[in-house]
């Protein structure tokens, strides 16, 4: 029984935390949230230099070959810092899609660029409201050209390469890789609940694109990408939820009302105990997800869905009760509480909401029981 990250990865975590404490303070987050930049370029370059972007990419493709457990550890720290960089889009979504679905040639050609931070990738599955669903993807690839509309696309404004859930000329679901640098795409930035992680609407009109993976397997491949991303995003979520609990606890210890710390009142104590409970359950489910991801276990669909459901619940609870614990100060722009409240909702929606993943939990339970 060894249900904890290795000492090496614990060290990586500590390093990452120290680095981000210096290079990704709330000032850095606010610079993107309030400004015109779509991400923090210096931080992004730093992450590339330290090998974080390629953590789970094999050494043969220019990565660090730390495996997915390493990526989970980094994801938690990125979540703690609410880092304003396209890490999840480029690494959990685009690079993973190439690793899963790409040909050897595509991997050799593309992964090095993701690992080095030279290219920013993303995944476009949503077409307005609704959850991922077979047959729901309308963009069409014909003669190497992609046409159709996708929104919201995370980091769709800054990405160079975009994996798109689409269909081929026969109407079969496929994944394609669109080259956004080559023209044939119109990007409109969207106003969202978390401007520190920008989203765009992409209108493809004959954009150069290549197929990724076998025709007809598009939806199964997308599901695999989403399952894997669900675990990684769960680590970002528990990172964020942990910070919310730490902030709320610290404030409750220091803020006085009626002559004593508000943290001495059971209304606050029990609220924060509930947040702690939700966070611990989410963390434990995420750990199981990390194991399933690292070993590509048959349990991955159930582990990923459970990790995501728990993480969505925990982060939402922790971020809203952090504001509540802070009282009036908590809903000011000046306090950092809202950075996490925003991020919690963004992460809770970006690969489909909790309702979608709850359904997948039961799907997986039924499959595993039937087996």
């Amino acid at each position: 029984m060894n249900f904890e990250f290795s000492d090496d990865l614990m060290q990586l975590r500590d390093q990452a935390r120290r680095y981000l404490a210096e290079h990704c303070t709330s000032k850095h987050v606010r610079a993107v949230l309030e400004g015109e930049k779509s991400y923090d370029g210096a931080l992004w370059q730093g992450m590339a230099d330290m090998g974080w972007l390629g953590a789970a990419i094999g050494e043969e493709y220019g990565g660090a070959g730390l495996g997915h457990e390493g990526l989970c550890v980094l994801a938690e720290e990125i979540g703690r810092a609410a880092a304003p960089v396209p890490f999840s889009s480029s690494i959990y979504l685009a690079a993973e899609a190439v690793m899963i679905a790409g040909s050897e040639e595509q991997k050799r050609r593309l992964l090095r660029g993701f690992a080095a931070g030279m290219h920013i990738g993303t995944l476009a599955w949503a077409e307005g409201s609704g959850n991922p669903r077979v047959g729901a993807f309308t963009p069409r690839l014909a003669g190497g050209k992609l046409s159709g509309v996708k929104w919201p696309v995370p980091d769709g404004g800054s990405a160079d390469l975009c994996v798109v859930a689409a269909q081929n000329e026969a109407g079969q679901p496929i994944l394609v890789l669109a080259d956004l640098r080559a023209g044939g795409v119109t990007r409109t930035m969207l106003e969202t609940v978390d401007p520190a992680r920008p989203q765009a609407r992409l209108v493809f009109d004959g954009c150069a694109a290549e197929q990724l993976g076998a025709a007809g397997e598009g939806f199964a491949l997308l599901e695999r990408v989403l399952n894997r991303a669900a675990v990684l995003i769960a680590f970002e979520q528990i990172g964020g939820a942990s910070v919310c609990l730490e902030m709320a606890t610290a404030y409750a210890q220091e803020r006085y009302a009626f002559g004593r710390p508000i943290g001495g009142y059971q209304a606050i104590k029990h609220k924060l105990a509930d947040v702690y409970i939700a966070n611990e359950l989410a963390r434990s489910n995420a750990y199981f997800g990390a194991w399933a991801l690292q070993t590509d276990a048959a349990e991955l669909p159930l582990a990923a869905a459970s990790a995501r459901v728990s993480a969505c619940e925990a982060y939402h609870l922790a971020s809203k009760e952090n504001i509540q614990t802070h009282g009036g100060m908590g809903f000011t722009w000046a306090a950092d509480c809202h950075l996490y409240y925003r991020r919690s909702k963004l992460l809770g929606l970006t690969i489909g909401s909790a309702g979608f993943w709850k359904n997948r939990v039961v799907d997986a339970l039924q499959t595993s029981n039937a087996a």
């Binding site: 959850n131 919201p152 009626f258 209304a267 100060m329 722009w333």
Partner: protein, 410 residues
């Protein structure tokens, strides 16, 4: 049981309906507005105009004495007017605090000459009032305020900082509670005044909320002089005066915030879930039913309160339940609405987000509603103590001089 008006009530309702139909736009025809919206200067002008028209038509100061321009009618008539107005998109927020809290406090404590001077202009929408109670260090412990008032001849000199003052920057007058004696226990050392917000030394700074808008202000006081004649109540009796004001607050805050369950039903009809309208999905239906029952339960609780009012009884602290239920419900409905939309739920663009981004705005506005005007926690305490008669919390600062109590680092 019936929902019929008495003859007088029916006549009044009829007049209100006619007035509103002729002078205002139905909410159903206007763009939906969440309570989180910023109040702009042109809206203040509109609000003043609207208040003047209400006054002219005989719908202002409904319960107030005729002597001060009111109609001297029982409270049920205020409720009747509000019921009718609820359907209309009218600019009400600007005068809520002045007419709901400040002037009633004045009427309890000011001189006839002062009332002669101030009540009329407030009622006619010419002058706007604000309330200066909260302080950064106070929060739920309102009486722990530190803004100092020191006697200097026939004046008092005020120094300190207030916070969460709605509309301080456009207000003409304010009521303020200050600490005039820090050497006695918390509640005993307070004194209450009204003041001209244009007095030298008053400085307002807007507070940006997490929604990005600024409904509230910080107000800084630097050697602000207030004549002793503007004191309300005795020196050291400021807490008693404040209670008068705060009792009125709980009656005033009654709006059902949006998005409500009706908006959720509209959304669920509009949006697809797994290939069918979301309204057909059992999980969605359960949530809608639960929120509907809570919403209707509050509505009919208000009807029970109105019945008590129309029988001449005074509504008690049980009114606190509306805010506790509404604030969390708003946050939950907003969040759930976004979840229904899937990834698109994060998008706030007016033309892409359903119902003009009402749900997204609700998400950002609702955390404040759980705090402002009494946190969830304080309101539950009030229900437990005043309705259920359970013991009060232990107050370690109870008998200590204010300046001997620990106040922590924040």
């Amino acid at each position: 049981m019936d929902f019929e008006d008495s003859t007088d009530e029916a006549a009044f309702r009829g007049r209100a309906r006619a007035f509103l139909a002729a002078n205002a736009q139905l909410k159903s025809e206007a763009k939906p507005v969440s309570r989180g919206r910023h109040i702009r200067a042109e809206e203040i002008a509109l609000a003043k105009d609207w208040q003047a028209r209400k006054y002219a038509a005989g719908f202002a100061g409904i319960t107030w004495p005729k002597r001060w321009g009111g109609l001297e009618l029982p409270p049920i008539f205020t409720v009747i007017y509000q019921q009718e107005e609820e359907a209309y998109a009218v600019p009400r927020g600007v005068f809520e605090i002045g007419l709901g809290m400040c002037i009633p406090t004045m009427m309890a404590y000011a001189t006839p000459e002062q009332l002669e001077r101030y009540v009329g202009p407030a009622l006619r929408g010419e002058e706007v009032w604000c309330q200066l109670f909260s302080e950064p260090a106070g929060g739920s412990d309102v009486a722990a305020l530190r803004t100092k008032a020191e006697r200097d001849g026939t004046d008092w000199v005020i120094n300190g900082q207030k916070i969460w003052t709605s509309g301080a920057h456009y207000c003409d007058f304010g009521i303020i509670v200050t600490r005039s004696d820090p050497t006695v226990p918390k509640h005993a050392g307070l004194t209450f005044f009204f003041l001209d917000m244009k007095s030298p030394g008053v400085e307002c700074r807007p507070i940006k909320q997490i929604s990005g808008t600024s409904q509230f202000n910080e107000v800084f006081f630097t050697d602000v002089r207030v004549p002793d004649a503007q004191r309300l109540g005795a020196v050291g009796a400021g807490w008693k005066v404040s209670i008068t004001t705060l009792m009125n607050e709980r009656l005033a805050i009654g709006d059902v915030p949006r998005p409500d369950v009706t908006d959720l039903v509209a959304l669920a009809k509009m949006i697809d879930l797994d290939g069918a309208p979301a309204i057909n999905n059992s999980a969605v239906r359960e949530r809608i039913a639960e929120w509907h029952c809570r919403t209707q339960g509050l509505k009919f609780t208000r009807f029970r309160t109105m019945t008590a009012l129309s029988r001449g009884q005074t509504p008690g602290p049980e009114n606190s339940i509306a805010k506790v239920v509404n604030a969390s419900k708003l946050q939950d409905i907003a969040s759930y609405g976004l979840d229904l939309m899937g990834a698109a739920g994060m998008v706030m663009d007016d033309d892409l987000a359903p119902l003009h981004a009402l749900f997204q705005e609700g998400l950002m506005f609702s955390p404040g509603l759980r705090i402002a005007g009494g946190t969830d926690e304080i309101l539950r305490n009030i229900i437990a103590e005043r309705v259920l008669n359970l013991p009060g919390d232990i107050r370690v600062d109870k008998d200590k001089a204010f300046n001997q109590v620990s106040h922590g680092k924040r």
